[in-house]
């Protein structure tokens, strides 16, 4: 999951980014409005965290322009001006939720979770698809109630695919969204991880949770059942 953080205060931005990386996200950072807008429009992003009081260009303008350009990823506002006027302005400009400074990191991460889940069309943070159950807040995966041990990268892949259950995800998209910038990009690595995931989730080869569509990518193929 690639998140964009636009915040002009270096300490706050870096610390937020660090904690989000720890939580398993890939992060893009921008320190002013102009750079932020560029990232918001040009980079593959799953969610943007935007401070409203930015130099060069206001957070509101970034949100508005991103929405005008057809960007549909969720946007979380960080605001120090916790007047309702600002919140309402931000929400009607196209943001999906807000967090008021000074926030606890847990608050931000809970909102980010919820927004990502919502953008995939899930109503709860525990995703159910047949026998497969993914708990986003605990980062746990169960098949037929049995906990499956996953590496953090394996978890990221299955979470990404499950959140977008039914959609075809290309290899490029997976590398783009899951690797950190400086990570070596090699699509073969993805294939290896998908192979491992299949073995772990479906050792008997009866469930076939992850389909390969030749030349197009992968799809989490089990019907969503609830959540």
């Amino acid at each position: 999951m690639r998140l964009l953080v636009i915040e002009d205060d270096d300490t706050l931005r870096e610390s937020l980014a660090e904690q989000l990386v720890e939580a398993g996200y890939a992060i893009e950072q921008a320190a002013d409005g102009r750079e932020g807008l560029y990232f918001a429009l040009e980079y593959p992003v799953d969610l943007a965290i935007v401070d409203l009081g930015l130099p060069e260009m206001s957070g509101l303008d970034i949100i508005r322009q991103a929405r005008e350009q057809g960007k549909t990823y969720p946007i979380l506002i960080l605001t120090a001006r916790d007047r309702w006027e600002d919140k309402v302005d931000g929400l009607s400009a196209g943001a999906d939720d807000y967090v008021v400074k000074p926030f606890h990191f847990e608050e931000v991460s809970a909102r980010v979770h919820a927004l990502l889940r919502r953008s995939g069309g899930w109503a709860s943070s525990v995703l159910h698809a047949g026998p497969v159950v993914l708990d986003m807040s605990r980062q746990e995966l169960k098949v037929d109630d049995a906990l499956i041990e996953l590496t953090s990268f394996e978890y990221k892949i299955i979470e990404y695919l499950m959140l977008r259950a039914g959609q075809v995800i290309s290899k490029t998209e997976l590398t783009d969204r899951l690797y950190d910038q400086d990570f070596e990009r090699d699509s073969n690595v993805i294939e290896v991880f998908i192979g491992r995931l299949r073995k772990k989730l479906d050792p008997e080869n009866s469930l076939n949770p992850i389909e390969t569509l030749r030349g197009r990518g992968y799809r989490f193929a089990i019907e969503r059942s609830e959540g």
Partner: protein, 460 residues
């Protein structure tokens, strides 16, 4: 009497009444005295005629021919009478016209006395009389005193005077009416710019206009310009104030957020982190409360705008639907059609936002916001009654009081609770309104903010 035109009209009417009254009196008096003088001259002529007509007869007394030259002496009830008395005040002769009438008699006057008098007949017909006492020398040399008296009824004269007076008053009344009418028309024209200023200020107060127009006569352009300057200054001041507060909030809160992020990195014991966070929360509460003072108040009449309530509530509710996407409360809105709130948009959103946010947070699934106007006698701008209901656990009475108290003694407040309500209460108060907490029909809390209407300027 506060209207300029009413004042002017009343003073002009009083002046006209005095001036025309005096004129009528003077003209009337002059007309009467001129008329009376003419009457006297005529009466004098009649007396002379009587003297000329008198002749001593054979009995040694005076007598008159049966028909006098003046026909009116001969016609009964003609209004001109003559008589002759001797020194015993015995009637010697009376003109035919006086038949059946009793002309009041007088003491024998001094000889040679030529006296005009106002007298009246028995039927109270007013008379002007002239009597003359003479010593008549008979051909035999005997001298006898006689009183010649003529009297003329003043009926026709009085009628003439009354007619004249009626005409005089009629004409003057017509002139006065025309003058008053033309003055009031003139005044309407003259006072039009003033009235326009009044209208435009009213429109500014109602939020229909932002400044005075520039089309005023020279004498008023200065006033209009300065008024606009004042309004602009006031607006700029209130914007600057808000901007400063926003910047202050931003510059205080971002470091707080950074500090909070940083102390996570302090690998110290968790207990210390908790205490740091407590302090940060307290500072945050103080910054939030102190910097979120109401942007406007009823006193800033000219800065206020008309907030379209329906549109703002809709914006707010669609924002909250995003924020409470997972809970999906049913938010009903019931806003009176065309409802406007006279104040600051930020203040309105702060009130509605805090109340709706709390309601969404605590409700089981239903929230309702109702906004209706409230009017009062002489109100130029209607007030607002905003109610937010929810079906949550509600607020017990003791807690309600404590919640409302909070904010006045902020340092004792527990962070994270009730600060929204304290802010709402402050804003309501700055508009002269009230906040009430009660139990809702839906089962939860019912919070009502009532902002009173703004009465018109001094038309008491």
């Amino acid at each position: 009497m506060s209207s300029l035109s009413a004042r002017l009209l009343v003073s002009v009417s009083v002046l006209l009444l005095l001036f025309f009254g005096a004129t009528i009196f003077v003209l009337d008096t002059a007309f009467q005295s001129a008329g009376e003088q003419a009457r006297r001259d005529i009466l004098d002529g009649h007396l002379m005629q009587l003297l000329a007509a008198a002749n001593p007869n054979v009995d040694g007394a005076l007598s008159f021919p049966p028909d006098l030259h003046e026909e009116r002496f001969n016609t009964i009830g003609s209004g001109l009478y003559g008589e002759l008395r001797d020194d015993n005040n015995e009637l010697v002769w009376r003109s035919r016209s006086a038949l059946g009438l009793e002309i009041p008699s007088v003491e024998f006057p001094e000889l040679g006395d030529h006296a005009f008098k106002r007298e009246s007949l028995a039927d109270e017909t007013p008379l002007l009389t002239l009597s003359l006492a003479v010593q008549w020398e008979f051909p035999d040399g005997e001298l006898k005193p006689y009183v010649f008296k003529v009297a003329e009824s003043l009926d026709s004269f009085n009628a003439q005077v009354a007619g004249f007076r009626r005409q005089l008053i009629g004409w003057f009344a017509a002139i006065a009416l025309i003058m008053l009418l033309s003055i009031s028309v003139l005044m309407r024209g003259l006072l039009k710019p003033l009235r326009q200023i009044e209208t435009e200020i009213g429109e500014i107060e109602e939020g229909k206009r932002v400044s005075l127009s520039e089309k005023f006569p020279t004498e008023l352009t200065g006033v209009a310009r300065n008024m606009n300057l004042l309004i602009d200054n006031e607006r700029a001041r209130s914007d600057r104030y808000r901007y400063t507060l926003d910047n202050l909030a931003h510059s205080l809160k971002t470091p707080l957020a950074a500090m909070r992020a940083l102390i996570r990195d302090i690998a110290a014991e968790r207990r210390l982190q908790g205490r740091f966070n407590e302090q940060i929360d307290r500072m945050d509460e103080i910054v939030r409360y102190q910097l979120r003072k109401p942007a406007a108040s009823v006193a800033d009449n000219l800065v206020l705008t008309a907030v379209p309530v329906g549109k703002e509530v809709e914006r707010l509710v669609s924002g909250l639907r995003k924020v409470y996407h997972d809970k999906q409360p049913l938010i009903e809105t019931d806003v009176a059609a065309g409802m406007q709130f006279r104040g600051d948009t930020g203040d309105f959103l702060e009130v509605a936002g805090n109340l709706l946010d709390n309601a969404c947070k605590w409700c089981a699934g239903r929230v309702k916001i109702t906004v209706t106007p409230s009017t009062g006698a002489r109100a130029i701008v209607s007030g607002m009654i905003l109610t937010v209901d929810d079906d949550g656990p509600g607020i017990p009475e003791e807690a309600a009081e404590a919640l409302l108290e909070r904010g006045t003694r902020l340092d004792e407040a527990t962070p994270g609770h009730g600060i929204g309500l304290a802010i709402v209460k402050d804003i309501a108060r700055s508009y002269g309104g009230k906040l009430k907490i009660a139990r809702s029909d839906l089962g939860g809390a019912k919070i009502t903010v009532s902002i009173p209407p703004i009465p018109g300027p001094g038309k008491a």
